[in-house]
C-alpha cells in the first residue's frame, strides 16, 4: 500500500534475492535438524493426547451415549479442530486461486494442518451415537433415514480424504527432495509418499493444473461440512433456535480462525524454525489485513443474527438471546466478542501494527483463544438440552438450562485432543521441509527488481 510516496523505508525481503540453491539448503537444514529438535515437543504432545484419550474413556465413554452433556468438551474439541486446523488449508487454496505473489512460503504452513484431520474424524464417529435419529425432531436432514449418522460420517470421511489428498499432492515435489537428499531415516517413508516424482515437464504441468483444483475441491467440501455441523451440533440441539445465518457465521468465523492459526504457525516457524528469510513482514502484513477483514466479518455475521432476533422481540427469540448471549452464557460471549472482534479491530486498525511481525501474531493468538471460547460456549449451550426437549419437533426453549461448567476431565479432554493435533503436525514436519522448495523456487523466477528513477520496484510475472 502506497501511503507515503516513494521513500517507503521498508527493506526488500531477503527471500527474493536468494538463489535456488540457498532455498534448497534451508530445506535440507530443516530436514537435518527437525527430527532431534522436535522430539521433545512431540513426545509431550503425544503424552497429553494419550491422557486426553484416557479421560474420554474414563468419563464420557464410561457413562455411555445417553447423557449427551458428558460429551460437551469432546464436541467442543471436535468443533474447534474443525474450525482451526481444518480451515487452514482453505486459506491456502484461497491464496493459490488469487495468485498472490507472497503466498509461496505460507502455503505449507497452512496445508500441513490438514494432517490433523483424522483426529476430528474419529471424534465425530465417537460423538455420533449421542445424537438421536431425525425422524422425531427438527433437523436439516428432515427425517431422512439413518441421518445424521451415515450421511454425516460420509461427509466427514470425504472431507478427511480430500484434506489428506491436498496436503500430500501439494507436497509431492518436496517429498521427492526428501527422498533424494534427506536423512536415511526419512527416505523410506518419503520415497513411498513421493510416488516416483522426477520433476519431468509433464509431471510439472499436471501438478500446476491439479493442485489448485484439489484445493478448491477441499473448500467445496469444507463449506457444506461446516454447514451440516453447525446445523446438527448447534441449531438442531437448541429447540426454538431458528436461524439461517448461523451456519454461515460458523463457517466464516472458522476461516478467521484458520487465518489466525496460519499466522501463529508462521510466527513459530520464523522464531524457532529458522524461517526468518522466508516468512517476513510481507507475509505477516498481508495476512494481518485478511485477519482484520475476517474479524470485521465476525461482527457482521453475529450482528445479522442479533438484530433480527432483537428487533423481532418474539418470546422465542428473546429466550434464545438470553440463553446464548446475554444471561446464561454472558461471560463466554463477552470474552468471545472481545477476542474475536473488538481487540483485533482496535489493534489491527493501525497500519504500523499490521505491518509488523508481532502485531498480527499477537492478534492471531487472541483470535485462536477467542474462537475456542466461542465454540465452547456454543457446544455447552447445545449439549445441555436433554433428548426429551428436542423430540416431538420442539419449537420452544421451555426450560433454560444452567451454564455448563467444565470439570477437570473436560479440560484434560480438550487439551489432549488439541495436543494430539499438534503432535500430528510436529510429526509431519519431520517429513515436510520448510520452506516449501517447489513453491519458493517457483516464485523466484517470477520476481525481479528494477530500478525506476530513484525508487526500486518489484516486478511480478503473471503466467497464464
Amino acid at each position: 500500500m502506497a501511503t507515503h510516496g516513494h521513500a517507503h523505508g521498508h527493506e526488500l525481503q531477503r527471500t527474493w534475492e536468494l538463489a535456488p540453491a540457498d532455498v534448497l539448503g534451508s530445506a535440507l537444514r530443516w530436514m537435518r535438524s527437525t527430527a532431534a529438535a522436535l522430539r521433545r515437543p512431540l513426545v509431550i504432545a503425544a503424552i497429553l493426547f494419550v491422557i486426553g484419550i484416557v479421560a474420554i474413556v474414563a468419563f464420557p465413554l464410561r457413562q455411555g451415549f445417553a447423557n449427551r452433556q458428558a460429551w460437551t468438551y469432546v464436541a467442543a474439541a471436535f468443533l474447534y479442530l474443525m474450525s482451526t486446523a481444518a480451515a487452514a488449508p482453505a486459506l491456502s487454496t484461497a491464496l493459490r486461486v488469487a495468485r498472490s505473489h507472497w503466498r509461496r512460503p505460507v502455503n505449507r504452513a497452512s496445508e500441513i494442518w490438514a494432517v490433523t484431520l483424522v483426529i476430528p474424524f474419529l471424534l465425530y464417529l465417537l460423538l455420533l451415537p449421542t445424537f438421536p435419529g431425525t425422524e422425531d425432531r427438527l433437523s436439516v436432514w428432515f427425517g431422512w433415514p439413518l441421518s445424521p449418522w451415515l450421511w454425516g460420517a460420509i461427509l466427514l470421511l470425504t472431507l478427511t480424504g480430500a484434506g489428506y489428498l491436498f496436503a500430500w499432492f501439494s507436497s509431492l515435489p518436496d517429498l521427492a527432495i526428501v527422498r533424494d537428499h534427506g536423512e536415511p531415516a526419512q527416505r523410506g517413508f518419503a520415497a513411498w509418499l513421493s510416488r516416483g516424482w522426477v520433476g519431468s515437464h509433464r509431471q510439472w504441468r499436471i501438478y500446476e493444473k491439479v493442485v489448485n483444483n484439489i484445493g478448491v475441491l477441499y473448500v467445496l467440501i469444507y463449506v457444506p461440512v461446516m454447514t451440516v455441523l453447525a446445523s446438527d451440533f448447534i441449531i438442531a440441539l437448541i429447540p426454538g433456535y431458528f436461524t439461517a445465518v448461523f451456519p454461515a457465521y460458523f463457517t466464516i468465523t472458522s476461516f478467521q480462525a484458520g487465518i489466525a492459526l496460519t499466522i501463529v504457525t508462521m510466527a513459530v516457524l520464523r522464531r524457532w524454525g529458522g524461517q526468518a528469510d522466508y516468512l517476513g513482514r510481507e507475509q505477516f502484513w498481508a495476512l494481518g489485513k485478511m485477519l482484520l477483514a475476517f474479524s470485521l466479518l465476525w461482527f457482521y455475521f453475529w450482528w445479522s443474527e442479533f438484530i433480527i432476533f432483537w428487533y423481532g422481540r418474539t418470546p422465542r427469540e428473546i429466550d434464545i438471546l438470553r440463553f446464548l448471549m446475554f444471561e446464561t452464557y454472558l461471560w463466554p460471549f463477552v470474552l468471545s466478542f472481545a477476542m474475536n472482534f473488538a481487540l483485533p479491530l482496535l489493534i489491527l486498525m493501525w497500519n504500523p501494527i499490521r505491518r509488523s511481525i508481532a502485531g498480527p501474531t499477537v492478534v492471531a493468538a487472541i483470535v485462536l483463544i477467542g474462537n475456542l471460547i466461542d465454540r465452547i460456549r456454543l457446544t455447552s449451550a447445545a449439549f445441555s438440552q436433554p433428548d426429551s426437549a428436542l423430540l416431538g419437533h420442539a419449537h420452544e426453549l421451555h426450560e433454560v438450562p444452567a451454564a455448563y461448567i467444565p470439570g477437570i476431565s473436560d479440560i484434560l479432554i480438550l487439551i489432549g485432543m488439541l495436543a494430539g493435533a499438534l503432535a500430528l503436525v510436529l510429526w509431519a514436519a519431520r517429513y515436510l521441509p520448510f520452506p516449501s522448495v517447489a513453491e519458493v523456487v517457483g516464485g523466484l523466477w517470477l520476481r525481479a527488481h528494477q530500478p525506476f528513477k530513484h525508487a526500486r520496484l518489484i516486478v511480478i510475472g503473471k503466467t497464464e
Binding site: 428487533y311 422481540r313 418474539t314 418470546p315 422465542r316 428473546i318
Partner: protein, 241 residues
C-alpha cells in the same frame, strides 16, 4: 389511567356486520364501492372475517370481527420512518394522519392486517357530506388509517369528566362497534377497572377456558380478547373421534 381493551365473544357474534357499518359511519371511513372491493382495497376498520367449515350439507360459517388489536408492543410502531404511529399511555395505538407519508411499512408489519391505506382520494357525494362525523378527521389519499378504539369518544368523555371535576365512571364510554352490536358480542372498557364489563367477562371466561388472543405467540400483547365459540356439536364430534 384507564387501559382500554375489548372483549369479543364469538359465541354471541352472528355475523350481522352492524359493527362494520357503525364504524364506517362513526369514523368517516371512505365509501367502499364495488370496484374498490374487487381491487381488494376496501377499508373497514373493523372487518368481519368469514370462514367456511365442513362440506355441504354440514357446512358452517364462522365469523370473527377483527378490529385493531392495539398491541402493547406494537410491531407497526418502530418501523414507521416519520413517527406517524405511536402508543398513548392509555394503551391505544394512534395513527397521525398529518404526519403519515404512506410508506405502508406499518401495514406490512401488521400481521392482523388491520391497517388500511387510502389508495384513492376519498370522495363523498354532496348528499352524504352532512353525515360525516365532525369529531373525526377526514383523511386524504396516501395516508394510512385504522381503528383507534373511537378515541374521539374517549377524549370527549374524559374532557366532560374533567369539566365536571370527576373521574371517568365505569363503562361510561364505549366504541361505535360495541354500541351497535345487537348481541353485545363486542364489549369495550377499561381492563384495569375490576368493575368494568370487560374485566368481569374476562374473569368468567378464564374460568371457562375460552379466552384467547390472535397471534398471541408473537409476543405483542394485543388488547382485544376473543372468547371461543361454544360449539356443542363440535365438542361432541371431538369427543367421539
Amino acid at each position: 389511567m384507564p387501559r382500554w381493551g375489548m372483549v369479543i365473544d364469538l359465541d354471541r357474534c352472528i355475523g350481522c356486520g352492524a359493527c362494520v357499518v357503525a364504524c364506517q359511519a362513526e369514523n368517516n371511513v371512505p365509501i367502499n364501492t364495488e370496484d374498490v372491493y374487487h381491487q381488494r382495497r376496501a377499508i373497514a376498520w373493523i372487518r368481519l372475517e368469514r370462514y367456511w367449515e365442513g362440506e355441504y350439507p354440514n357446512i358452517k360459517a364462522r365469523y370473527i370481527p377483527v378490529p385493531c388489536m392495539q398491541c402493547t408492543n406494537a410491531p407497526c410502531e418502530p418501523v414507521c420512518p416519520v413517527y406517524a404511529t405511536y402508543h398513548t399511555n392509555e394503551g391505544i395505538n394512534m395513527q397521525v394522519y398529518n404526519r403519515c407519508i404512506g410508506t405502508r411499512y406499518c401495514a406490512v408489519n401488521c400481521h392482523w392486517h388491520v391497517r388500511f391505506f387510502n389508495f384513492w382520494e376519498p370522495k363523498w357525494p354532496d348528499s352524504l357530506k352532512n353525515q360525516l362525523n365532525p369529531d373525526v378527521t377526514v383523511r386524504s389519499r396516501g395516508v394510512m388509517e385504522k381503528c383507534n378504539f373511537c378515541v374521539h369518544r374517549l377524549v370527549k368523555a374524559e374532557q366532560k369528566a374533567k369539566t365536571e371535576k370527576r373521574s371517568l365512571r365505569t363503562d361510561e364510554v364505549t366504541t361505535a362497534c360495541a354500541q351497535a352490536c345487537p348481541t353485545s358480542a363486542i364489549v369495550f372498557g377499561d381492563l384495569d377497572d375490576p368493575n368494568s364489563a370487560v374485566s368481569k367477562l374476562l374473569a368468567q371466561a378464564e374460568q371457562e377456558g375460552r379466552v384467547y388472543r390472535l397471534l398471541e405467540d408473537l409476543g405483542t400483547d394485543p388488547k382485544v380478547y376473543y372468547l371461543k365459540k361454544i360449539d356443542l356439536e363440535a365438542a361432541e364430534h371431538a369427543a367421539t373421534h
